[in-house]
Amino acid sequence: MNVIYILWLRQVKKYFRSRSRVIGSLAQPLLFLLAFGFGFGSVYSKAGGGNYIQFLAPGIIAMSVLFTSIFTGIEIIWDRQFGFLKETLVAPVSRFEIMLGRTLGGATVGAIQGVIVLLLTLIVGFRPASIFLLPFGFLFIFLIGVLFTSLGTAIASKLEDMQGFQLIMNFLIMPIFFLSGALFPLKGLPQIMEIITKIDPLTYGVDGLRGTLIGVSNFSLSLDFTVLAIVTSAFLLLGSYLFSKIQV
């Protein structure tokens, strides 16, 4: 067995063992889907947007991947507090391998969560446009997972305890979500908003998911993919650099 695999396996096992977490993290996307989907549905279609649930579902899937993977990344803080982090830090393996195993584990957990939410959206009435594009949808789900797990890891490497977490939630994660076009179309925004949404990496994840799930996107799928891949690599490197600087 190798190091990356065993650390990946650890994350996945831990996820399935905390049933309350699985259920808790499904409640939120479901609430969003129902409240926004049915709340804004008629306004949206009256404005000529079409079926809002179709539009919203990819955004909600992206949201659940975002939250789950950022939390999994940030779990390093718990590992630090409960002491397990020391065990990995003294191990004679490269920091990048440790980081990669954890991150792929977190991304897998995020992706599983995303797929479960996708199944939930089917119940609410969402219908993917094409079966053939579905695998590419999974690819985007996984990429979003890797991106935000590494971001979570990078952040957690700089935090001593959960104190700063609220701050990060309100000033980073929420804006990333709300400014990604997960809830509203990016066309016709005021210019400043448009610039901000274009800086937000989740925008390209949401757009890629829409492109592959409902066949409508703002940018081309290859642009979405390229931007995500570049930002993901950058965060992976940043995360493993910060991770290698941790002292306990």
Partner: protein
Amino acid sequence: MDNIIEVTGLTKRFGDFVAVDNISFGVKKGEIFAFLGPNGAGKSTTIKILTTLLLPTQGKVIVNGFDVLKDKDNARKSFGIVFQDPSLDDDLTAYENMQLHAVLYSVPSGEIAQRIKDLLNFVELFDRKDSLVKTFSGGMKRRLEIARGLLHHPKILFLDEPTLGLDPQTRNHMWQYVQNLSKKEEMTVFFTTHYMEEAEKIAQRIAIIDKGKIIAIGTSEELKKQTATNSLEEAFLKLTGSAIRDEEASNIDKMRQHRQARRGGGR
């Protein structure tokens, strides 16, 4: 020189506070070396620096021929460690914790299962191997950590108060195992403890550290002779004084309170 650990002028500061104050010492290959000192003396801090977990403020540390600052990876390959504080993953089972360690330390895959079985039997946890660690008692967790520390056979084994919270049976058992392993594989053991009789019985050489400084080093016999005492415990108390260490801190607290009270009264 055949010192496997070589520490020169090591200092560690946390802000203004000097936790380790310019210490130098060496540990020979295959030696069992005890690091003794009152609470807060700087033992764990030193071990953390020796094991690459903390960066020193100053000084040089060579472990198995590798500089812990420049050649971290090779240094890490040379040792195993049992920490003073908990370091298990509570959400994994005993077996999974062992397995993860075996993979991290590249124990040959053909040997993993057998070694885990032997060691879990040794600490009498084999029948609990599939229980989550969070369901274990404190002593059981400690035993698991020790078993895990012995899973790969390092050149140097660091044990930071390994016997804390263990019953006498397990303690004796553990030390026997460690001594055998040390003899058989020429493994160096660097340990701390607050049980003086343990140090006296097990350690070939002892260093006593107080307030970040090494104040004596030698065999148990030498330390007793130097202080004209009959037991290591007496020697230790003579060298480090019998004041309780936390008192100093609380004295400072008292002073602070006084000052605040005075300031408060002056307003």
